[in-house]
Subunit: 309 residues, 2 copies
């Protein structure tokens, strides 16, 4: 008890880090004529309204081109200093905000990633994440366009806190959230492109939306972190295919309670984040204390077969 | 396509395993005078009503003695063939059902586990699980009573399917659910003793209940398995302490949809389980395909520190 009180005393005596900030989720239709300029405008407006962290949807700068496998679409990829990132560097510097910028990264000819760069208030690149879990399902044919990320799950230190960037399909994998949390992430970011296929919406649309929220809320609970999901919105058509991106961007606190949620239209959602909630939550649900790391070896297996094949 | 159709044909030609069964969750107040006999009666009634798998709450045979740390309570522990298990062996054999029986296991003098034994329709022991994640929080002082399990996460083959036994606090750890699923579990079982402290219920009671359900639903979604949570119910007092066990036992399908849920009173909840839902679900959400086992090494760490301490 005494030791505990002493440690607390020391901590209060040192310079306190920023423990609260205003967040803006830019939920947008991203398939318009000049998506980059439109998003830059929305981000600038959000910063003017007080946002200190701005998060954009997955591949914010382009239509969701993964509905088909078209080699011409590979030309959309850009280097780290390409126009889609540069536009946001400009916003970050002018407005002195942190921005999480998802973009289609060209790493070499024939080697592309679904990436996210975190830009600091001085325009500097604070961290890069390359989507680790890549889907490939009808109309989400991402394995054609994106190589699997090779940077692992690394949080990014920023002036407003330690962010854990992840992207879309990652949200279905508890491993990704856990690894970011174990590395110190306080706020998980999930820029997303998820929506309904016309064939599915009537029957399972609401269940899909609920499952999507449930998974991400579970990451908040299991890890005692904030979760921020920023989805696209609007219908995008490619030939006879279409996806209705469902919006519903949301933020949940470290107990999994949704503290803000957007509708299905374009919207900038503002949320006040109080990072001291993490300490409070982990006092009551000390899950990190009780993990059985001696018994988790099987998580590194594809499957645990009864016998060798 | 052709190969796929052929494989389907072969499978249909072979002897089909049982793919559907009736499940009964025995939600009970377990602190009564003769908890074992009362639960045996309820289980027998459930079997008569057609249940083929019966699941009991955590430590079904005793008051929840972990509200305090009292060495005398250690005497409640029983060997594998003690009265709390034997009573259910008798029910299983007479009614020809599978029963998941949580009990306080005495392994040696001074070495006790929070365990679960699965009994087959012939009364044979099909599998043993020892709770792996042990809580220790105000009024849930389990580290005093239970050594950590050392059997890992092993599914149990039964005539009605492959069960993944887990217990209570395990439900907050995605690792436990994942490991059971990777080893082939089709139905995760979570006998539980969770409830409200008087000091918390008004303020955070509903949020706690919702978080509890959310976590377990997320295991169903992430792994494409059924989840069965069987909680205690009723108020139990020890001195000036009390817990109001909140009931709400439930089953969710592999998409995370709750298909049956009990109230807060004693209740036997019957649910028809169709295991073919697992195949259907994993076709659409093929998460097991896309896990990044090359990048999960950090899951075996307690924490991923910035630098060596």
């Amino acid at each position: 008890m005494t030791a505990d009180l002493c440690a607390g005393g020391e901590s209060h005596a040192s310079v306190a880090p920023v423990m609260a900030f205003k967040l803006a989720l830019i939920q947008r239709h991203c398939a318009g004529f000049d998506a980059v300029a439109a998003a830059a405008y929305a981000a600038t407006e959000a910063a003017r309204a007080g946002a200190e962290l701005i998060v954009l949807p997955e591949l914010y700068h382009a239509p969701y081109f993964c509905q088909t496998t078209d080699p011409n679409e590979l030309d959309r990829a850009e280097p780290l200093d390409g126009p889609s990132v540069r536009a946001m560097v400009e916003v970050a510097r002018q407005a002195e905000v942190v921005i999480a910028v998802p973009f289609y990264e060209k790493r070499a000819v024939g080697l592309y990633h679904n990436s996210l760069v975190v830009i600091g208030p001085d325009g500097a690149r604070l961290g890069l994440y390359r989507k680790m879990h890549i889907p490939h399902d009808p109309q989400f044919e991402e394995k054609f366009y994106f190589a699997e990320g090779d940077l692992g799950f690394r949080p990014v230190n920023t002036p407003i806190g330690r962010l854990g960037p992840l992207i879309c399909w990652d949200q279905w994998f508890p491993e990704a959230a856990r690894l970011q949390a174990l590395a110190g992430a306080e706020v998980l970011l999930y820029p997303t492109a998820i929506g309904w296929l016309e064939s599915e919406k009537a029957e399972v649309g609401l269940a899909q939306l609920d499952a999507w929220k449930t998974m991400q809320r579970s990451h908040a609970i299991a890890n005692g972190v904030f979760v921020v999901a920023v989805n696209r919105t609007g219908v995008e058509r490619v030939g006879d295919r279409s996806i209705e991106f469902w919006g519903h961007s949301f933020v949940c606190d470290p107990s999994g309670v949704v503290i803000a949620e957007a509708g299905e239209a374009e919207e900038t959602l503002f949320v006040d984040i109080d990072l001291t909630r993490i300490t409070e939550q982990r006092r009551w649900w000390p899950f990190l204390r009780d993990r059985r790391i001696d018994a988790y070896q099987g998580l590194l297996s594809r499957y645990i077969d009864d016998e060798d094949p």
